[in-house]
């Protein structure tokens, strides 16, 4: 397998975790509500709503910092299993539980989280097998990924802003 494949997979997985972690930190109540809807006690839900995004962001930080690859690999696997368990539990209870995967997401928990488990395990495998890079390369790659995520978020905000302005003008004029 070419060396760039595991590197590419790790970059994608880290970008997803970075996005999910930052969104959850911005809106922790959504995740707590989802965990409670799955039957978790309120206290556990509150603690888990802090631990999950911290674990997501810590995984990215460990990859970028270049610590032993087994640590981020373990976190990838644990997070994947946790997401899959939440999806399976939602499917088992047949309850419509908000995913809260990316903060206030309107998607429902279910088979996508189950289907995502092999991908998280693949990311765990990839982080162990990707070639070693220097700190400058890892930081450069992380900065580029975050800038791209931010650009996507900015585009979304501008689009929503244009719609809001258009609505306002329709009723109140210029």
């Amino acid at each position: 397998m070419p060396a760039w494949v595991p590197t590419f997979l790790v970059v994608i997985a880290c970008a997803v975790l970075m996005w999910a972690g930052l969104e959850k930190i911005r809106s922790p109540s959504s995740l707590a509500a989802s965990i409670q809807a799955l039957g978790g006690p309120p206290r556990f839900a509150t603690i888990a709503a802090v631990i999950v995004p911290v674990a997501e962001l810590a995984t990215v930080i460990f990859v970028v910092a270049g610590v032993s690859p087994y640590l981020p690999a373990a976190l990838f696997a644990v997070l994947g299993v946790a997401f899959a368990t939440a999806g399976a539990r939602a499917m088992q209870s047949r309850a419509e539980v908000a995913c809260a995967c990316f903060g206030t997401s309107e998607r429902r928990l279910g088979w996508p989280q189950l289907a995502g488990l092999p991908l998280w395990l693949l990311a765990a495998w990839s982080v162990i097998h990707m070639p070693a890079f220097g700190l400058r390369e890892r930081l450069g790659c992380a900065a580029a990924a975050i800038v791209l995520l931010t650009a996507g978020r900015a585009f979304s905000a501008v689009r929503l802003g244009a719609a809001a302005r258009s609505d306002r003008r329709a009723f109140a004029g210029d």
């Binding site: 992380a142 900065a143 975050i146 800038v147 979304s156 905000a157 929503l160 719609a163 809001a164 609505d167």
Partner: protein, 191 residues
């Protein structure tokens, strides 16, 4: 080392921007939810025509020329409604082709005064596409007095009705295909 620090600074700043744009996007979604809750979203909603559905326009008090219209939109406006006033004042002396205005007023004089404010002359070509009626007449024919209301006419039949929440929606309802039929008055003037 300097490059690494630069990358780290860029990453941290980008994270801050990401969070700020996220908060901004959420604020816009909140505004949208509030508007939806207050029913002030610029979105037209269908209205049930009841027994008037599929009727010939002249049978519901509309102009007989509409009976032969391939496609037209009839817009009911009342001076007491704010959106209606905005629509009429936006006309600026003209009524878009394919659109007919039904002005609901207690008497003809009040309707003419309102139309004069919008520079619509009853004897002009756009003015001939204005129908003046009373609230009771509208209630009798349509079973409702909702304004501003757009009734869509296709092939001489009433096929649908929609609310008009804004001036923008009014202009988006202007039919692209208009009737080529000649009105009785135009035919008389030709001969």
């Amino acid at each position: 080392m300097t490059t690494s620090i630069l990358f780290a600074v860029i990453a941290v700043l980008a994270i801050g921007e990401f969070l700020l744009f996220g908060a901004l996007a959420e604020a816009y979604r909140d505004i949208r939810q509030i508007r939806e809750h207050a029913n002030v979203v610029d979105k037209s909603t269908p209205v049930d025509l009841g027994q008037a559905y599929n009727q010939v326009p002249s049978r519901v008090g509309l102009h007989p020329d509409l009976d032969s219209a391939a496609r037209a939109v009839v817009v009911y406006v009342d001076k007491r409604c704010g959106t209606c006033r905005m629509i009429v004042s936006s006309l600026n002396g003209g009524v878009p082709r394919g659109v007919w205005l039904v002005v609901i007023a207690e008497n003809t004089q009040a309707a003419h005064e309102w139309l004069a404010e919008a520079a619509i002359n009853p004897d002009s070509e756009p003015g001939r596409r204005v129908i003046i009626t009373t609230p009771d007449e509208v209630e009798r024919h349509l079973g409702q007095g909702l304004t501003p209301l757009a009734i869509e006419i296709e092939n001489g039949r009433l096929v649908g009705a929609r609310t008009i929440p804004s001036v923008r929606q009014f202009y988006s309802m202007v039919p692209t295909l208009i009737s080529l039929s000649v009105s009785a008055e135009q035919e008389a003037s030709r001969s």
